[in-house]
Symmetry: C2
Subunit: 219 residues, 2 copies
Amino acid sequence: MLDLAVDADMMKNSRHCRRERPYHHGDLYSSLVKAAEELLEIKGANALSLREVCQCAGVSHAAPYRHFRDKAALMEAVAKAGFDQLGAMTRDARTKHPGDPVMQILDAGRAYVAWATENPERTRLMFGGMMKSEDIDEDLHRTAEAAYDEIYRIIDDGRSAGVFGGRDTDSVVLSAWSAVHGLTMLILGSGKLTPDSPGDVRDLADVVGETMLSGIRSR
Amino acid sequence: MLDLAVDADMMKNSRHCRRERPYHHGDLYSSLVKAAEELLEIKGANALSLREVCQCAGVSHAAPYRHFRDKAALMEAVAKAGFDQLGAMTRDARTKHPGDPVMQILDAGRAYVAWATENPERTRLMFGGMMKSEDIDEDLHRTAEAAYDEIYRIIDDGRSAGVFGGRDTDSVVLSAWSAVHGLTMLILGSGKLTPDSPGDVRDLADVVGETMLSGIRSR
DNA sequence: ACCTGAACACCGTTCAAGT
DNA sequence: ACCTGAACACCGTTCAAGT
């Protein structure tokens, strides 16, 4: 809790932090989400305070309560935006390689690992047990489900085409997703795996991706 | 932040919380670790406060600072104990099936997923990015490394025996560990995967384990 | 050597009051 | 309808003082 002056400067210079402030903000909801996303990656989940987010957005520390039930609800909105991006990227990987399920799943895996590596704190937030807690917004659940469905669709199409095997699609999805998600969390969480360039990240994704493919290909 | 009276009762009844308190505690270090482990699983990482841990251990909220640099250092000690258990379980899986690398890795995977499912908050602590931060105790790094080495040894022996393939042992370890760790984190973190019995957990571990084995077996 | 109690700067949340 | 300022109960950390 040192360098308060430095922190203040940093917040002024951050992209989503405003200097001028009319009494009515205009679009405080999405300003708070943007500011929270940015500060989350800078400070980490543990050190991020709602009051900082408010200062960054240029409002008093009580203002968010008009738009969010509490701090957790703001973080849910950040997580939802993340699942939206993840789902969109997976859909892109599918449509980019029509009729080629192997390239679809490999590309989706690369994108998954790359996005998570670039947004580590957001990824940890999304998969850190938040989804498990009782009072989760139905909206968030649906968005996460939609991202999952994109993976399901790649695997299911691949099985229909005879490219992938397995007893049922859910088992194959579970295995493939576990491998990619596991690599992701090991990169984010372990001191051992520390790729220092996007190329390194992609190499790791390909190592795990190839092994995963040998495991799910039809024989 | 409600039910303070209830929480106080709960702490009194918790296993590692003491009622009588001589001025000198005796073994405060390990009492704090035990209390932190227990309260961590009950309240979750976000809601766990050092002051609660102190109350549970029967000392003032300033007492820990004689034994730990700060709150993070106490949590590191909790994580270290977790890696110790994980390493021991993997070693058990190896020695229990001498000469059978397939059963060794399958059993180790089952134990990994089972332990994490029973200790979700500790697992999230261990793999939640803590290891990545700059000022990590060398002790903790060594303990985590020792747990990794147990997995490495299973895979390396299996490759020497011609049971597992792959270009090098590290790639195979990465693939196998990613699959098991990914399943683990999906169970802990996603709302989708919610096994409600140890049998269900084991079934999931076997689904992912079999696919992973098809991927790493020598062909 | 080990622990306490008061103090400090922070935090999330609430609510009457302002615009 | 939207935002502020003061207030409340908490929190991590420090430090002189007690045992």
